[in-house]
């Protein structure tokens, strides 16, 4: 349960050497990481990288082949009840009974998590308020839209106020507005909990997460703070548009430029080393050479590029 004076930084989830194979294929290979209070950990990776399998093991739905999972000080294998009480889990498919109403579903789930009658009524009211389900209490889950079901799923995962939240693709299939609402909610929940969420949307990680880890072929290829990720960059890019472009060779001789790509329509992409921007030299040369510069945009959506680089790097190593 969540203490009043919850300290940030306290380690809530500790994973050591977690492995799992299905038949011949190693789906998760010796994954180790920690999650602290106040962290929202974005779990990135392409489809089939083993994200869901990892999260299923954390939630205790799937038994690992090897490794240890310690949740809020309790080992998931040795003290399953204490460990499970400390997690809220939202699988890819929210586990909801179509024939129940939202209230019935949430109350059932609260009772399953050992809240007594009064506590569960209060918990249901709180979770509904938090997730914007105040008017949906008497609606049948079978008749709810995908976005609402997702909200009920999150409400269900947070009912018993667990310190650790495990969310598997919480915004998949939602429209942009619903997606933003859920992301706001996750950020808010993450302030005094530890949240781990899987996604393959980088924008989502940028919008919600404090930390990020990237999985590729069952192996964790990067773990770190979101802010540190951009420092992983090997190079930066600058997109320019010229009405009277010079030969490519001339562009690549600009200071700090390492590579030039022609994009067509007078546009070029200049790759340059991190920290040294070639824009000053570019402007001077453009003026002197009459290149007629009409666009200059730094392409710093770099996170995507970094992730791709990290994943590709992994692939070439493997």
């Amino acid at each position: 349960m969540l203490g009043e004076n919850a300290m940030t930084g306290e380690i809530l989830l500790q994973v050591e050497g977690l492995s799992r194979c299905y038949g011949e294929s190693q789906v998760v290979d010796a994954a180790s990481f920690t999650l602290s209070r106040g962290q929202v950990l974005g779990f990135l990776g392409p489809n089939g990288a083993g994200k869901s399998t990892t999260l299923r093991m954390l939630a205790g739905v799937l038994a690992p082949d090897a490794g240890r999972i310690i949740i809020n000080g309790a080992d998931l294998l040795d003290q399953p009840r204490r460990a499970r009480q400390a997690i809220g889990y939202l699988p890819e498919q929210p586990p909801l009974y179509r024939e129940l109403t939202v209230d019935e579903q949430l109350r059932y789930s609260a009772r399953l998590h050992r809240l007594d009658r009064i506590a569960s009524r209060m918990a249901v009211a709180r979770a509904k308020e938090r997730c914007g389900l105040m008017d949906a209490g008497r609606r049948l889950i079978g008749n709810l839209s995908k976005g609402y079901r997702q909200r009920v799923g999150i409400a269900q995962a947070t009912l018993h106020d667990p310190p650790v939240l495990i969310l598997d693709e919480p915004t998949v299939g939602l429209d942009p507005i619903q997606g933003r609402e859920i992301r706001d909610l996750i950020r808010e929940l993450g302030q005094n909990r530890g949240v781990i969420l899987s996604t393959h949307l980088l924008a989502e990680v940028q919008a919600t997460c404090t930390h990020v880890q990237i999985m590729q072929n069952g192996r964790l290829v990067y773990i770190g703070a979101l802010a540190d990720l951009s420092r992983q960059r090997q190079s930066s890019r600058l997109r320019i548009g010229l009405n009277a472009p010079p030969p490519l060779a001339e562009l690549s001789q600009l200071p700090a430029v390492t590579q030039v790509e022609e994009l067509g329509g007078g546009q070029f992409r200049l790759h340059h080393a991190v920290g040294v921007a070639p824009h000053q030299a570019l402007i001077e040369h453009a003026q002197a050479g009459g290149w007629d510069l009409w666009e200059m945009t730094p392409e710093s959506a770099g996170l995507e590029q970094i992730c791709v680089e990290l994943m590709l790097g992994q692939e070439t190593v493997a």
Partner: protein, 250 residues
């Protein structure tokens, strides 16, 4: 905790038209048979009056009614148990139970109890029919109670087998067909060699109705009760192992 799961299961049953349909069909058919039995008894009554140690209304109406009800249970229990685990796996709701601080045996017992409560309601409705006769006739309540106990034990063994088989597949229909086949096999297992009159004692022991017949007639023997309890325990044990395996294999 068991009760929480059981109540949801029971609610789930009553929220589907299937449960109501089954109750209505069984009650309608058995009421029809009950009327026929009562009519037969009235016709026989005159001749029975002269006999010493004559069978009473309980033997001639309640016992045959219960025997038909036993057949009814054989047919409908697979339909009740087929969704227990198969549907939860199909829709992913099993994840909720697996990630909750609840043991696997608690899940199994909770589901089992839920179906059992439904079957008890059904049996109670069946038992009410002969009970109405107590308004105008002297019933043997001991025999009646034995009959109800017999039906309950039979139903609980059917439910245990159905519960296990529904954990084996993700398709409710497959679970229902398999359960029906298994129960029928246990029902007729003593037919092997019956024509030559050389029933192997093992097959005779395994037969489900052999143990029930005595109870339905009002004879309470501990070995029959033990048979049903063992039968149920065996399948519940298998179901727990199976769910453990689902968690291991994914």
């Amino acid at each position: 905790m068991i009760l929480t799961i059981a109540t949801r299961e029971l609610r789930g049953l009553f929220l589907s038209p299937l449960a109501w349909t089954l109750l209505a069909v069984v009650q309608g058919l058995l009421a029809w048979i009950f009327i026929i039995l009562v009519g037969d008894f009235q016709n026989l009554q005159g001749r029975l009056a002269g006999l010493e140690n004559a069978p009473g209304v309980t033997d001639l109406v309640a016992a045959p009614l219960f025997r038909v009800a036993a057949w009814g249970l054989l047919l409908l229990t697979p339909l009740l148990t087929m969704r227990l685990f198969s549907e939860e796996r199909q829709t992913g709701t099993l994840d909720l139970l697996f990630s909750a601080p609840v043991g696997i045996s608690t899940i199994v017992f909770g589901k089992y109890l839920g179906v059992l409560m439904f079957l008890l309601i059904l049996i109670a409705l069946v038992a009410l029919m002969p009970l109405t006769l107590s308004i105008g006739a002297a019933l043997d309540f001991g025999k009646l109670a034995a009959g109800v106990l017999g039906l309950t034990l039979l139903a609980s063994s059917f439910a245990a087998a159905g519960l296990y088989l529904s954990a084996l597949t993700m398709q409710p229909a497959v679970a229902a067909a398999a359960t029906f086949g298994l129960l029928l096999a246990f029902w007729i297992v003593d037919a092997v060699g019956a024509s030559q009159g050389t029933i192997s004692p093992l097959f005779a022991y395994l037969s489900l109705p052999r143990h029930g017949d005595a109870l339905l007639l009002g004879l309470l023997r501990s070995k029959d009760v033990a048979y049903y309890l063992l039968f149920s325990a065996a399948f519940l044990g298998l179901a727990i192992r199976r769910l453990d395996n689902i968690r291991l294999r994914g």
